[in-house]
Amino acid sequence: MRGFGELEAVIMDRLWSWGGTATTRDVVDDLQPDRSIAYTTVMTVMDNLYRKGWLVRERDGKAWRYQPTATREEYSAGLMHEALENSGDAAVAFARFVERMSDEQTQALRATLRRAGRKSRR
């Protein structure tokens, strides 16, 4: 399963960098020089990505033409929003390194660091 997850990431990466639409054949041809990979494997993974909502597709003769549902930037922003929203949520274990601080607190923290710096240099 883990290998599939990685392949999902690789395929989405290609599709995002191309910008347009692509068939399974396009993706296989692009991946082939780097790794030996079966057409059916790519087809399965792209079908999975379509089912999970990452890709939209339309018929092109006998094949499907796939396209990312949203840009990478949109997905990134969405994930960040979810992480920020949920960091205070009881249910989700988003252990964020640090929460937001007010300007005054940031100033105080900076002053503390300065003080500690002076002490250690002395």
Binding site: G5, E8, R72, L79, L84, A95, M101, L109, T112
Partner: protein, 314 residues
Amino acid sequence: MMRVAICLLIAGLVVATFGPPVLAWATRSGAAPRWGVAAWAAAIGGVASAWLAVAVMVVVGVLGARGSGSHFAEWCLALLQDAARGAPVPVLAALAAAALPVVGLAVWRVVSTVGAGRIRGRRHADAARIVGRRTRDRNVVILDVTERAAYCLPGRPHTIVVTSSAVEALTGTQLAAVLAHERAHLAGHHHLLVAFSRGLARAFPRVRLFAEGAEQIARLVELCADDAAARRTGPRPVAEALLALTSAGPSGALAAGGMDALARAERLLTARPTARWRSAHLLLVATTMVLVAGPFATAALAAAGTNFCLLPTV
């Protein structure tokens, strides 16, 4: 058995009442945070299991007392009819009837809270692995956004997300400190401690021990992770990273946890008088032992026949 149940109930109430102020005082300085987490978890776990045991004992006791012959459902129905007619209903029987759904609901709430969080976290991690840029460490991904943030998602495998802006804002050592902090959360299974204690707090919002315990455990695991990071890089890079990753919001609009970052940095940067820390450590160890042993020692004494709670023999 009823005497044991009542003793457990009282012991649980004592810990639930006097536990929070004592523990808050003992863990306030942030010395030995691991023992602080242990002490709170012991108090919460001890009280929760003592009360669960009471509920089970009452149910079992009443079931035993109803006599054989009649079916359990019929017996419940008869009890309800008695109550509807205004006839006196045995107190314990009523308690037992009330305890079952309450306990069931509480257990369900805790489990569903934890479960929902797990599912959401895993989905987020899967998406982050597709959207984020991969790094040399296969469990760390970089998300291209303007916010500076770092967080971890437990799972198999664990995922640590760092934003590109955070990477830009941090030096190499500071980034190592942040990663060490997140890895400490994952290695220590902190998410489970936080999720279970918060689930319990949500199921019993009125019980101060659970509500305050959940907050304190969330605070103390951050300190545990800070200490782990400080062991790796020294305390200063951890404190610097805290400053570098704070996204300064509008002044006055203070987000929850904001004060903690300042307190965390100060704690990291102030020298630790070892003697005082050692005594804090010992105090916490002792508190933990008492909290764990207390309720059960009481129950054991009661079971052995000592009329410890000075109750009339039932």
